[in-house]
Symmetry: C2
Subunit: 236 residues, 2 copies
């Protein structure tokens, strides 16, 4: 059985945007897998992989890290299973879409909501995340959070091309989902898991698409509690 290492936080929450891409890719291929949650500070747990980032998968004697490389590995190793890319063009343009999500979307979504992540993890991990993010962005997380309304507005605007696709398509993949759907899902699932903020406007077609993807693969995405649901549990 394939093994997957991914970030895990408090109350077993799974908040890695990259690991969600990999999870959905494994489910899309119909492959059974076992998950090992790893704290962001526990580099020892993943030393076997020869690098220090999750997600990582082990499939027999193959160890692959980096969500994009994992998707390419799965497509090549399991060509008879449902396609993630479907063609060389599909793979190249999905790579382009993956880079766009990482370079254009995450920098507008992660900084304003990163303060929320600190409440989803233990103290040592929170300190690690804070140091890392404040070094990258050269700002206090509290200041980035204070500007969240403006930053999230830019985030929604930047989604315009995807909004155009999803206004007359069920999935980015067309009638059925593809890895491009998993990429964007990973972005929005991160926000759903870590934050109480509503990042999309009511009635946005992307929100309706997100609900569809939450239901895919027997509701694998939806089974992960939203931060909102965890908050309600605590106050009930």
């Amino acid at each position: 059985m394939i093994e997957l290492w991914e970030l895990g936080g408090k109350n077993d929450c799974r908040y890695s945007t990259f690991a969600w891409r990999t999870r959905l890719a494994l489910l899309h291929k119909g492959l059974a897998f076992e998950v090992h949650p790893v704290a962001v500070t526990d580099k020892g747990a993943i030393r076997f992989s020869g690098q220090d980032l999750v997600p990582i998968i082990r499939d027999g004697d193959r160890i692959v890290s980096d969500s994009w490389k994992i998707a390419c590995f799965l497509e090549q190793a399991y060509p008879e299973r449902p396609a993630l890319f479907g063609s060389e063009l599909g793979q190249n343009l999905t790579y382009f879409f993956n880079m766009w999500a990482d370079r254009e979307l995450l920098p507008l979504l992660v900084p304003p909501l990163m303060l929320d992540v600190l409440g989803c993890v233990g103290e040592a991990e929170a300190a690690h995340h804070r140091t890392q993010m404040e070094t990258i962005f050269k700002r206090k997380l509290e200041d980035l959070y204070a500007e969240r309304a403006k930053t999230l507005e830019q985030f929604r605007k930047r989604l315009a091309p995807v909004r155009r696709i999803l206004s007359d398509q069920t999935f980015i993949g067309g009638k059925t989902p593809a890895y491009a759907d998993h990429i964007l899902f990973g972005v929005l699932q991160w926000a759903r898991v870590v934050s109480l903020e509503q990042v999309l406007d009511d009635g946005d077609v992307i929100g309706r698409w997100f609900e569809r993807v939450l239901d895919l693969y027997d509701g694998a995405g939806r089974r992960e509690p939203a931060r909102r649901e965890r908050a309600m549990e605590r106050s009930a």
Copy 2:
């Protein structure tokens, strides 16, 4: 035979970035077509299409304008010919790529080189282009031209995701070209036809890919003289 209306300038030069996408799509499909050059000021010539932009194609009794709509029409009307998109995913992600080229690439390439276009067209057309562009950018074309080194540097940086794809792929489509190649070709062919500026650095893999696309379809792209070639003819 299919008819194509596209922008034509002085000395029969063909400089529309959008029409180059359509031309290559027609050639890719192996369809015979006849071209009608239209001056940008001659709205009368294309009134039959019910709108005022080129490219336009007429195929039997079907009239289609807008390069993206034309590509979709050709893919649907000629499914047995070489594919432009290959799949629904391919079509959706190519649409995404098309929007990226229009929104992210052209705004860094057209303003600095627009002054060059004025030398490729007649006086009335030059005045039309100047008014249109200076209204859109709220700047004098001369000022935009003066900043071209900086703007073109940003243009090259923004091509990074494509550079990554083309560093180990022959075409964006993979082993064979696809409409995504035609889109990016149209962007760079515009610069080649209108300007003496070298927009890509020597040794850029995108430059080598551009040379390959110039050679496709019996060198259709290369037969259109570069501004540099026209300049040499005049001075010889």
